[in-house]
């Protein structure tokens, strides 16, 4: 890399492309996210935001371009390795594990849990027990943090839409990520809960985590994000503070039409 900014970046996307059946969903998209920030990604429907998230998380393989997470190049890595590096994503439509309890959903987010490896089960039962205990404790902490503790032993399918969104976030936190990609975290969540959720994100940010989120609720984006990146037709068209983005004529045009 020839140019290097003074502030180290936690995520760098460079000229990433992805097409589906002749339609370019993401078209030479480049952007960067600085650490310990809450960065918003906005743009009209079909701008390629969710596809970009899937590309970053390794669920799709880019047709071209590079994705760097800190100092690691992550495009082409399988999703589970990317998670282990500290990058997690949530879904716009919650992917809760329906027939498992909320607590089970969370404990599944454990990282390097000894009990998840078959050999340890038989050869290191003590370690497995200790690990599991530790992870359950951690899961309970996260549940308290996300105010889901009352629902710990409910099946995930029994939760309301908003609670499922919270569960998504809680589960993502279990993997102890440094960067969380949130796909519409407050869509379908009632305003009070949404407010709490964003407060929680703010708190976690102060603890050192970075959030990169797609959101359509402009109040959230304008009031809660440090920086906003705007995508339109598969590429970034603006990048800056919420106020500057709001005033940017290119953005207004892409949203309102020119």
């Amino acid at each position: 890399m020839t140019e290097r900014s003074e502030v180290p970046l936690i995520l760098r996307v460079q000229d990433v492309r992805k097409s589906f059946g002749g339609i370019r969903a993401v078209d030479d998209c480049s952007l960067a996210v600085s650490p310990q920030s809450v960065t918003g990604l906005i743009g009209p429907n079909g701008a390629g935001k969710s596809t970009l998230f899937n590309l970053i998380a390794g669920l799709y393989r880019p047709d071209g371009g590079e994705i760097w997470f800190g100092d690691t190049r992550i495009d082409g890595l399988p999703p589970f390795e990317i998670v282990h590096l500290g990058l997690t994503k949530t879904w716009q439509i919650p992917h809760e594990l329906r027939n498992m309890t909320v607590l089970e959903n969370l404990v599944l987010g454990s990282k390097h849990n000894a009990g998840e490896h078959l050999t340890n089960l038989f050869f290191q039962p003590g370690l497995v027990r200790r690990d599991e205990k530790r992870w359950r404790q951690r899961a309970r902490e996260v549940l308290r943090l996300t105010q889901l503790d009352a629902l710990a032993n409910e099946h995930a399918k029994a939760l309301s839409g908003g609670q499922k969104k919270l569960l998504e976030l809680a589960r993502a936190l279990m993997t102890d990520p440094t960067l969380v990609l949130l796909d519409e975290p407050v869509a379908g969540v009632n305003p009070t809960l949404a407010g709490n959720l964003m407060d929680l994100i703010e708190k976690l940010r102060r603890d050192g985590r970075t959030f990169f989120l797609i959101e359509h609720d402009m109040n959230v984006v304008m009031n809660r994000c440090d920086r906003v990146i705007v995508m339109h037709q598969g590429r970034t068209i603006a990048d800056g503070t919420p106020a500057s983005v709001k005033a940017n004529p290119v953005v207004i045009e892409s949203y309102l039409g020119g």
Binding site: F20, G21, N54, L59, Y60, R61, D63, P78
Partner: protein, 361 residues
């Protein structure tokens, strides 16, 4: 309407491609015949005979796959049922087998609609496994019902005796077994082509298979289309069953025994595509029968020929899971070790090795 009749570049390209493939195949056959003697042509003939039956069945199977989205494991037994209905007409009512086939065609079409109404309509939207399980149940009922009613005895259709016509020593053909089967296979291929390209029902079927939601919003009577698909699928099964009985005997397992061949053909050709089914059927039928001299040459039993189609199928599943003629889905689930291997040997089959399940699932 002149432009409608003119060949479009696409169909011209296809015609050209078909011609090239045919020429290569003929040259290949000629080479084989000079190398191994004229008997190889007998195996080729057997291959075509098997192919025509497999094609008829594969088209039927794939039609219901396109509309309903599941692999019908009862299909083999429905073929058997078709053969037995024809047998009943042929023996008990002492009519010609042609009448038997026609009656069986109609009866099986009704059976298909009945299956949809009674069972499969209730399993809509539950993923691929529940209908597979239910279809196995249907298969068990049909196969054992036949055993209970008609015993496990083997039967032979009453058809006029015609001796085989020798062409050259070591090569001969039989009017009914060889020409009849291949002709029926061709006729069904052509009629399915006509159904799908020239009739409203066929177009509506293709549209429904493409996009069920849009079909409903367009005003297509998707329920009627589903019934029609079942009728087509099961009546094709009946004809395939009659042909199977014609080249061999009628027994309660004739259909089940070729079911896997039909599946293999459908997968090789690309599941859900009737044209792929034709291609897959040819590949499967020819590869099975023409492998016989090869196996004998290697000193193996010719019974292993039934394994050949599955080797072809597994190869297709590894390299091109959407089949020869199928279109790659926009997202196919990523398999990292296969990607790594392919990257290592320096080539990936198409960019669509990539992620995701929505369209696959």
């Amino acid at each position: 309407m002149r432009e409608v009749l003119r060949f479009t570049p696409r169909s011209r390209r296809q015609l050209l491609r078909a011609l090239i493939v045919t020429t290569i195949f003929v040259i290949f056959l000629a080479a084989l015949a000079t190398l191994f003697g004229i008997t190889i042509l007998q195996y080729t003939l057997a291959g075509f005979r098997l192919s025509s039956i497999v094609i008829v069945a594969a088209i039927g199977l794939t039609v219901i796959y396109g509309i309903r989205g599941f692999a019908n494991f009862a299909y083999g037994d429905l073929m058997t049922l078709g053969a037995y209905v024809a047998l009943f007409v042929n023996m008990n009512m002492a009519l010609s087998l042609v009448w038997g086939a026609i009656v069986s065609f109609v009866v099986l079409a009704l059976v298909g609609i009945l299956l949809e109404v009674l069972i499969f309509a209730r399993l809509e939207g539950r993923g691929p496994v529940p209908p597979i399980v239910a279809s196995v149940g249907v298969g068990l009922i049909v196969q054992n019902g036949i055993r209970a009613v008609a015993t496990t005895q083997q039967w032979i259709f009453r058809v006029p005796f015609i001796p085989e016509i020798p062409i050259v020593p070591g090569l001969g053909f039989h009017w009914i077994r060889d020409l009849g089967t291949v002709a029926v296979g061709l006729a069904f291929m052509i009629s399915v082509h006509i159904l799908l390209t020239y009739t409203n029902l066929g177009k509506a079927m293709r549209a429904t298979a493409d996009n069920l939601e849009l079909a409903k919003a367009t005003g297509i009577d998707t329920k009627l289309v589903t019934y029609a698909a079942w009728a087509v699928s099961c009546s094709f099964a009946s004809t395939a069953g009659v042909l199977l009985g014609l080249i061999g005997v009628v027994s309660p397992v004739i259909g089940f025994n070729v079911l896997l061949l039909v599946f293999a053909a459908v997968i090789v050709g690309g599941i859900g595509s009737p044209y792929g089914a034709v291609l897959g059927g040819l590949v499967i039928g020819l590869s099975q029968e023409m492998s016989v001299p090869l196996l004998l040459g290697l000193g193996a039993s010719s019974a292993y020929k039934v394994a050949i189609p599955f080797i072809v199928m597994i190869a297709v599943l590894i390299l091109r899971p959407w089949g020869i003629a199928g279109r790659p889905p926009p997202f196919a689930r990523r398999v990292f070790f296969i990607e790594k291997i392919l990257d290592a040997i320096g080539g990936r089959p198409g960019a669509a090795q990539d992620a995701e399940r929505e369209s696959g699932g």
